[in-house]
């Protein structure tokens, strides 16, 4: 049920993000969501894209280090407390959230990307609360 996230390792230097986005643009890849984690030395770009396999080969071709991780994507209800509800469901089952980020689609729906250790447990818990989960095919179609 999970979706695949692409991570790219870059040196923390001006222009590095643009190198990545230029590379993806040149390969006609659409970025659905992006989050950046950085330290003084390096940055990790985490991306949800419409065609991850194509994105991986385009980036590797340019010598970038990439990694694919299974993450959970779920719909964020458009009302106060929507995010709090999801966080509560996950902490209730005692699973640690590594990181998360949100994105909007053209249809103005908001989605949340969540990175946890135990995808199955979190998916089951979210499904039990009728929180809609994203599939890989949804990401391509968004």
């Amino acid at each position: 049920m999970s979706i695949r996230q692409l991570s790219v390792f870059v040196q923390n230097e001006a222009g590095k993000l643009q190198e990545i986005t230029d590379c993806l643009y040149a390969s006609n890849i659409d970025i659905r969501a992006l989050s950046v984690a950085e330290t003084q030395d390096f940055g990790i770009f985490r991306l949800i894209v419409d065609d991850i396999d194509k994105a991986v080969s385009a980036l590797q071709e340019e010598g970038h280090i990439v990694k694919i991780t299974d993450v959970i994507g779920c719909k964020l209800e458009d009302r106060p407390g929507g995010l709090a509800r999801i966080v509560k469901v996950i902490s209730a089952i005692g699973v640690n959230m590594e990181y998360m980020y949100a994105f909007l689609t053209k249809s103005d729906s908001a989605y949340l990307v969540i990175r946890v250790e135990d995808n199955d447990a979190v998916e089951a818990a979210l499904r039990a609360r009728d929180i809609p989960l994203l599939e890989e095919s949804d990401v391509t179609a968004l």
């Binding site: 991570s7 390792f9 040196q11 990790i44 280090i65 990439v66």
Partner: protein
């Protein structure tokens, strides 16, 4: 049992007494030669009160004065020349990064002698006329390319004079020509191995069977990693431009120390502080005398390389003394916050911890304290999407460095190819303190 192969069996397996006899004969002539023909040496010997007739055999060598790189610089360009320029056929030169360059001169006899030394190294690495020998050392003033090229010709290998750089072409020639022996710097061999792997060639696809690598320090761990990626046996070779170039000593199939070509180069180990000769097996500074070079003979030349010698019997049958890989060069040693640090130690830790040997050490001084940073490239397998994982790896590496060096560097893990890399010699150390002094 497979028959042992040598380039010059009689010389390479000569009993010690015989080696000493040859050396004695040559040193007597050589001392007379430099005294008569090189004013610089005559002055040094007169100053020490030594006359050519005091040297009756190799056992008298300790009576002679030492020479060092600073003598060569002082005598630049022609002060050490023992033959008229009209008899010389070539020069080579050091890169001169640390001051005036050293220029060495060769007569045809000197070139032949050097080529022969390299031929012995190639045969010791399993080479014969059936081999295809790819020379990826730089050609030009640098001795690497010319030396191994000459040796390869003597052995009768099909020789590919590639020079360094242009990695795509290097890979193409290895694969298309079926190169079986690769000669280059160890850091370039590691880089070629990585590039071949990136192009989908594993050790079983690569026709190479042996590599002869030298001109920069490398570790046992680096040897293992090169051997695995290229599917070869990697042999060390040693030499200095001042003495001729690569081939002063070389490894045999034992891969345990390099046999010194003692019929041409006499080696001593001395205490670097006092100049006193040290007994066999002790670590000290390596000193060489070129016994029969004509144009640019050096007597008791201090190499600044620290190593040890052994006369233990070698299973390859060669009788010439073996030198250990230099443990460091007094020039390479860094003193950081009062601690002696060699780049070779840092490399050993990296390979032990599963990193590539692509690193750069940056030393600086800020507010009167030394800063010590190491940039290291991460491999795709090591990458994680979580910052914490990478921070933990950095922490673990700092710990391993501290226990090896006694001092903790700041480690920076970086993407591949972000550490500046030249295709010839690797720039391992940037010591910015020297800029401020």
């Amino acid at each position: 049992m497979e028959e042992k192969r040598y380039y010059q069996k009689e010389i390479e397996t000569m009993p010690l007494e015989e080696i000493r006899r040859v050396q004695s004969e040559k040193i007597v002539k050589q001392v007379r030669n430099v005294y008569d023909n090189v004013k610089y040496y005559r002055d040094l010997m007169d100053e020490k009160g030594v006359k050519p007739e005091d040297i009756k055999g190799i056992e008298d060598i300790h009576k002679l004065p030492f020479v060092s790189k600073s003598d060569l610089r002082e005598a630049y360009p022609f002060g050490m020349l023992a033959r008229p320029l009209s008899e010389c056929v070539r020069i080579h030169s050091t890169s001169g990064t640390t001051g005036k360059r050293v220029v060495a001169y060769y007569t045809q006899h000197d070139i032949d002698l050097w080529d022969e030394c390299c031929a012995r190294a190639i045969v010791a690495a399993g080479g014969s006329k059936d081999d295809v020998c790819q020379i990826s050392y730089g050609f030009g003033l640098f001795t690497g390319g010319a030396g191994l090229n000459g040796g390869s010709h003597k052995v009768g290998c099909l020789t590919l004079p590639m020079s360094s750089g242009n990695t795509d072409r290097q890979m193409q020639f290895i694969m298309d020509m079926g190169a079986t022996i690769l000669c280059c710097t160890p850091s370039y061999a590691a880089y070629l191995g990585e590039s071949l792997a990136e192009n989908g060639y594993g050790p079983e696809d690569i026709p190479l069977k042996a590599g002869i690598f030298g001109a920069e320090p490398w570790t046992e761990e680096m040897r293992q990693s090169i051997q695995n990626t290229l599917g070869i046996k990697a042999y060390d070779i040693y030499g200095l431009t001042e003495l001729s170039g690569p081939g002063v000593s070389y490894e045999c199939e034992e891969q345990r120390g390099m046999h010194i070509n003692e019929d041409h180069f006499y080696a001593e180990i001395i205490n670097p502080d006092t100049g006193e000769p040290l007994p066999e097996g002790e670590i000290g500074e390596l000193v060489f005398t070129s016994l029969d070079k004509e144009a640019f003979p050096l007597l008791r030349y201090r190499t600044r390389d620290l190593c040890r010698l052994t006369r233990e019997k070698c299973s390859c049958g060669r009788t010439h003394v073996r030198m250990s890989k230099p443990l460091g060069r007094s020039d390479d040693m860094m003193i950081i916050r009062g601690v002696n640090v060699f780049p070779s130690q840092i490399e050993a830790v990296l390979l032990n911890e599963g990193y590539t040997p692509n690193y750069q050490i940056i030393v600086d001084r800020v507010n009167n304290t030394d800063t010590f940073d190491i940039n290291v490239e991460l491999t795709p397998d090591q990458f994680s999407d979580r910052v914490k994982d990478i921070a933990d790896m950095e922490k673990k590496l700092v710990g391993a460095m501290r226990s090896m060096l006694g001092i903790g560097p700041k480690v920076h893990l970086l993407p591949p190819k972000s550490v500046v890399r030249s295709e010839g010699k690797a720039v391992r150390v940037i010591d910015k303190r020297k800029l401020h002094d």
